[in-house]
């Protein structure tokens, strides 16, 4: 097995690293680059807690070969806050208490971010549909939906 050279943009910075050809993106992020914000759940593309944004679109990093992001731009939860300042979406999640155990939170925040970038004022069903790929086993969906609605309202004002 020969290592491969991988270059991509991660949270705004260029990353260049050698990886094994069978490495999946989630393992690259967590084990090689030591970014533990992206979680591992089912490892088969069902639960969505491993969601990251590739070129702004949510994807399951647990079933994505790492080489697929070569030349692309990846955003993880670590890329949202700037220095000490939270992203507005992170802020509303805190304000609305849209967090219980927190395990699905990075994925929820990233999918919400991707939604609002595309559609700044979604209705409730659009929000639910966008979040449908991330399972919250605390079942705290109501507050999460509320938080996204509030984030959308904040954008308006």
């Amino acid at each position: 097995m020969e290592d491969l050279q991988l270059k991509f943009n991660l949270n705004g910075s260029e990353v260049s690293t050698k990886i094994r050809p069978n490495l999946l993106l989630v393992d690259l992020l967590r084990d090689v680059l030591n970014l533990k914000g992206t979680k591992v759940g089912c490892r088969e593309g069902e639960c969505g807690v491993c969601t990251v944004l590739v070129n702004g679109e949510p994807v399951n990093s647990c079933i994505l070969p790492a080489m697929k992001v070569s030349g692309q731009s990846v955003t993880t939860i670590e890329g949202l806050s700037k220095e000490d300042e939270l992203d507005p979406i992170q802020e509303v999640f805190v304000d609305e208490g849209a967090i219980q155990c927190g395990f699905c939170t990075p994925a929820m925040v990233l999918t919400a971010k991707a939604l609002l970038e595309k559609n700044p004022h979604p209705d409730e069903s659009q929000i639910r549909q966008s979040l449908s790929g991330v399972l919250c086993r605390c079942t705290g969906y109501s507050k999460i939906v509320k938080a996204v609605q509030k984030a959308s309202l904040n954008r308006r004002s």
Partner: protein, 310 residues
Amino acid sequence: MEGILKEIHWGKEISVQHYHQPLTIPEALDMLARYDGKARIIAGGTDVIPLLRRGDLRAEALIDITRLPRMNDVKADGGSICLGGLVTHAQVCSSALIRERAGFLAEAAAALGSPQIRNVATVAGNLISGQPAADTSIPLLALNAKVKILSRTGEREIPLTQFFLDQGQTAIDCSREILTQIRFPVPQKNQGGCFLRLGMRKALALPILVSATVVTIDPEKKTIKDAAIAIGPVAPTPFRALKTEAKLRNAPISQETLEMAAQSAFEEANPRSSLLRGSLEYRKEMVKVFVKRGLRRALANAGATVTEEV
């Protein structure tokens, strides 16, 4: 704990030794030839990676075709709509052309998996996986779609009716061939379609039953000229209710015709019992409901109404 995790699929590494990202089709075909059956094509990977992890698929190398040119488009070409081999479900959901001309295919694509899956999973991959109730296989089968398959020895085009061989088995060899295009005739004004899906939840649920119906009407004679009814899972492959379709040809557009078709499809369908996804008896009853409802809505989309929905 570590040991236990390694034993179940969760901790298993994928057996792949090499990963290639060819930039041209000839390059991809050469790579496949070099591995002589030991490489496997990967596009979105949402089926391939879980299969590799479970050990249900082994490959020495993955040939990632997502960087091949000119396979990303949804376009009209003469009387056909063509989907490139790399078109994703998300693209089909949002394509204005498909929403306008074959809206029920866009609905079907929107029902598959989750947004994360739809962003990467290709329609070609959904066909190749050969599952009997695959969300886009069912409507494409009803649309009489054909697929183009390319190998070193040339290109062939086969209709989906000959593509699905058995559960999980299709007429393409993914260690040597590439599915480059899916093509189906543009539905006309006197045609209408309908996609129906029964699942345990609104999102991220495997289907209990899926159907797609396409009807062609003769508006003057008030008859059905032609009907295509695809259903799954009621057989090892995506299933066309051919006997029922034959009975519908030239039948009057009426409630009686719908009842007749429902009973005929009930007799023709042969689903299995599944502890998770419904008993044989339930699924067969639902075939009746879906055939009737599917025909009624497809007829309405073609401009013909059959009394109120029951």
